[in-house]
Amino acid sequence: MDAAAKIAVAILVAPWVGGLLKGIDRKLTARLQGRVGPPLIQPYYDLFKLLGKEQILATRHQMAWPAGFLSLTITSLVLLALGQDLLMIFLILGAAGVFLVLGALSVKSPYSQFGGHRELLQMFAYEPILLLVAFVIYKYVGSFMVEDIWTKKALLPHLWPAFIGLLFALVIKMRKSPFDIAASDHAHQEIVRGTFTEFSGPLLAVVELGHWYELAFLYCVLSLFWAHPLWAGALIALGSFLAVILLDNCAARLTYSLMIRLALGIGFGMAAINFAYLYIVG
């Protein structure tokens, strides 16, 4: 597949996959609660409805931040598809998260401010994990380039502690219990809607679309741990997603301090042990 085709797939196909993952999430959550649940394509309906709503702005520059969030998330996914530097990709994803925080902080609403600050705490919890996982992969493969990581047969047998660390980052990134402290999905609310409180109509649709790209991105990163054969990696990623949804349904929300302690203690700790092992043994 040449570069143009890869970019086209990353931009055009990925968000629909992310939306479908959300649909599966909502259906599965409903079934776990003994309900029928919405149709699988419900997230697509939500997106188009939001696009068709009136735009209400609290401040004028509020429009810029979701656009930045969306474009940087797309950039990180495209770079991943093109097999570029994993460290740079993670840093660009981090910058996208900062744009979302700035969007929340750009409005004086106390709920939005709360959400923005909590989002920053979440980033403090998962960003170190992502960066250290990139270093662990570098230590094992000898390169940060995704195209080199791609050629390795399987990372998981040697990098499983780092993978567990990555799962912590996944739960936080997917906004799932027990770590959904900044803003959470569908019916369960945290301080109105946290980070998303002041985004409405088309702006919320842009944020949602960015989140779909983010989900597709995370799915691809997880699949990278077993790139040959690729279906095994895809199954591992799907299994991780289903596990996160199960956890979401059986766990209560934790406080932010417990989130940081668990994510940095166990998640970052696992990745650090993996790094130390590779440094000493291999």
Binding site: P39, G52, F199
Partner: protein, 146 residues
């Protein structure tokens, strides 16, 4: 029917405001969210934020204390929006009709699209009211685009 109309029909998000009802209707609204009635089948989600809502469910009579809040919430909901008065109190003032501190039904303060009578309104009636409101929502959406 265009994709935006279809999406509006399939994804109504609710905002629920209690003007001071006896909580009978509120309990019935929450009952509609339970697995027995499961309104998420229709894509309906209960939102805590007026800026994300499409449908405004109001219970209880309007009075001098809450009319400001009621109007504020109504104005924060982006167009197209539909207001549904749930229960006899929200429709006309109900048992409190012509009380000195009561203005009357919710329609004394904000325009109401659908009236769901009943004391308390049954969950089935509330769901029917919301589905009726959805048709109005689509019509309003069509007008908005013109």
């Amino acid at each position: 029917m265009g994709i935006f109309d279809l999406a509006r029909l399939k994804s109504p998000w609710l905002l629920h405001y209690d003007c001071g009802s006896c909580n009978g209707c509120d309990i019935e609204i929450l009952a509609a969210l339970t697995p027995l009635y499961d309104i998420e089948r229709f894509g309906i989600v209960n939102m805590g934020n007026p800026k994300h809502a499409d449908i405004f469910l109001v219970t209880g009579p309007a009075n001098h204390r809450n009319k400001r809040v009621l109007r504020n919430l109504y104005e924060q909901i982006p167009e197209p929006k539909v207001v549904i008065a749930v229960g006899t109190c929200a429709c006309t003032g109900g048992a409190f009709y012509k009380c000195p501190n009561i203005l009357g039904g919710v329609d004394k303060v904000i325009p109401v699209d659908v009236y769901v009578p009943g004391c308390a309104a049954r969950p089935e009636a509330i769901i029917d009211g919301v589905i009726l409101g959805l048709r109005k929502l689509v019509e309003k959406g069509k007008k908005l685009r013109r």
